[in-house]
């Protein structure tokens, strides 16, 4: 990876509802851990599971 490619990235948390399987992406919050259950689903009130945490490069 070239130096120019190393731009600042924002960290996101990807969540998936265990019941209705809806996926959501939000900004990373302290304490977020992959495969931990966090907030309830806004659609079906089921538990949301964090499936991914990753950085997206800002252009």
């Amino acid at each position: 990876m070239k130096k120019s490619e190393r731009k600042l990235s924002t960290c996101y948390t990807f969540l998936k509802c265990q019941s209705c399987k809806i996926s959501k992406k939000r900004k990373f919050e302290d304490g977020d851990v992959v495969f931990s259950k966090t907030q309830n689903c806004s659609d079906c009130d089921g538990k949301m599971l964090i499936t991914k945490i990753f950085g997206e490069t800002m252009d």
Partner: protein, 376 residues
């Protein structure tokens, strides 16, 4: 002398040279040749050393900023009865003397003992320094400390080689440094940028292996198999799956070698599959998947040795599934490309199991890598 004794007159000089300018042209060619014959190496040394000096200054800056960052993190996030800065400062200068290798027989166990002793010592010292320190915080501190120590070591060693070459005016001595410095700088930049992800407990590129196995471990009964290492059992298409990974979300790689040794004492698997991040070659795409044979595990080599030895003794084949990435991607916040490959890697793993085993067989899947920010 002509110039000193009398006023220099260009017209007279040209007259002396004559209408034919060959003599002047010859001088213009010969003088640089003479300079390069006698001072060529020194000029090269000067140019090379200037570039290296800039990189050494950068390394010094990286060391001091990461050090400050680390101490600031400790002060703001942890409680201590006394000021920990002084004690932590002394840790940065700790060194490790590797065992003598004149007789390499039995050196692996010596290295293993040495590395484990160092880890245990640092862990104990940090643990005693702070109150109410969780295992996650403890492992994060160990990783941060390792980053600062490594950067300091890079800086000290490159500076030593540079100063020695300059002191002795020895051009050949600076050549190996000139060749190595781009690689050192690449790793140093990655280490500096890794601080942020580790402080916040975010997964890094190397966490892809534990992420795949962690997902398979969901809804299974996890047990500690050895220090900072967990395992569980599940089934897949009439096959038994043994899953092994470092205990997340700690910033640790666990002890997969010891884990494998313990698991094999309960039941011998028919196949071992190791999932890990691997350094990509120049020209290869980041987050590309590759399959192969052998133990996919990095580090100092002790864990790989153990896994290879157990597999050889028990005649268990080892397959490897790796996600290619650069050194920068491997130790900084996991990129979206790598994270989005997780589902494909899982599919590849399951296909690998189908292709290489039959129903009723047992497969051990090891998720290799730092499991920071990844639970199970």
């Amino acid at each position: 002398m002509i110039v000193k004794d009398m006023d220099f007159n260009f017209d007279e000089f040209m007259a002396w040279v004559g209408e034919d300018t060959d003599t002047l042209m010859m001088l213009l060619w010969i003088i640089p040749v003479i300079i390069f014959v006698f001072y060529g190496q020194r000029i090269q040394l000067l140019i090379s050393s200037n570039e290296i000096k800039k990189d050494i200054e950068k390394l010094e800056e990286y060391t001091s900023t990461t050090k400050k960052d680390f101490l600031k993190y400790v002060k703001n996030n942890l409680t201590s009865s006394s000021d920990p800065s002084k004690k932590l400062d002394s840790f940065f200068d700790y060194f490790t003397i590797m065992p003598v290798d004149l007789d390499p027989n039995g050196i692996i166990s010596k290295i293993n003992h040495l590395v484990r002793s160092r880890e245990d010592f640092i862990r104990l010292q940090i643990n005693n320094m702070f109150t109410d320190l969780s295992s996650v915080e403890l492992s994060k501190l160990q990783n941060l400390l390792e980053i600062v120590t490594t950067l300091q070591l890079f800086h000290k060693h490159t500076r030593h080689l540079y100063l020695t070459a300059k002191k002795q005016k020895n051009f050949p001595l600076i050549l190996p440094l000139q060749m190595m410095i781009p690689f050192i700088m690449e790793e140093a930049e990655a280490l500096k940028d890794a601080m942020h992800a580790i402080k916040r407990g975010q997964p890094i590129g190397d966490s892809i292996g534990p992420m795949i196995v962690g997902e398979l471990m969901l809804e299974t009964k996890k047990e500690n198999v050895t220090f900072e290492t967990v395992w569980s059992k599940t089934t897949f298409e009439d096959r038994d799956l043994f899953l092994l990974k470092a205990e997340g979300p700690n910033a640790t790689v666990g002890r997969p070698g010891d884990g494998f040794e313990k698991i094999i004492s309960t039941k011998k698997p028919d196949l071992v599959i190791m999932i890990d991040a691997a350094l990509k070659l120049e020209g290869e795409n980041s987050a590309s998947i590759a399959k192969g044979f052998g133990a996919a595990i990095g580090g100092i080599g002790t864990e790989r040795f153990k896994i290879e030895e157990i597999a050889t003794k028990n005649e268990i084949p080892i397959l490897a599934l790796v996600v290619k990435q650069s050194i920068y991607e491997a130790i900084t916040l996991m990129t979206d490309d790598i994270a989005h490959q997780a589902d494909t890697v899982k599919e590849e793993l399951l296909q690998m199991i189908r292709d290489n085993t039959v129903s009723g067989q047992t497969i051990l899947v090891i998720g290799v890598g730092n499991t920071i920010g990844v639970a199970q």
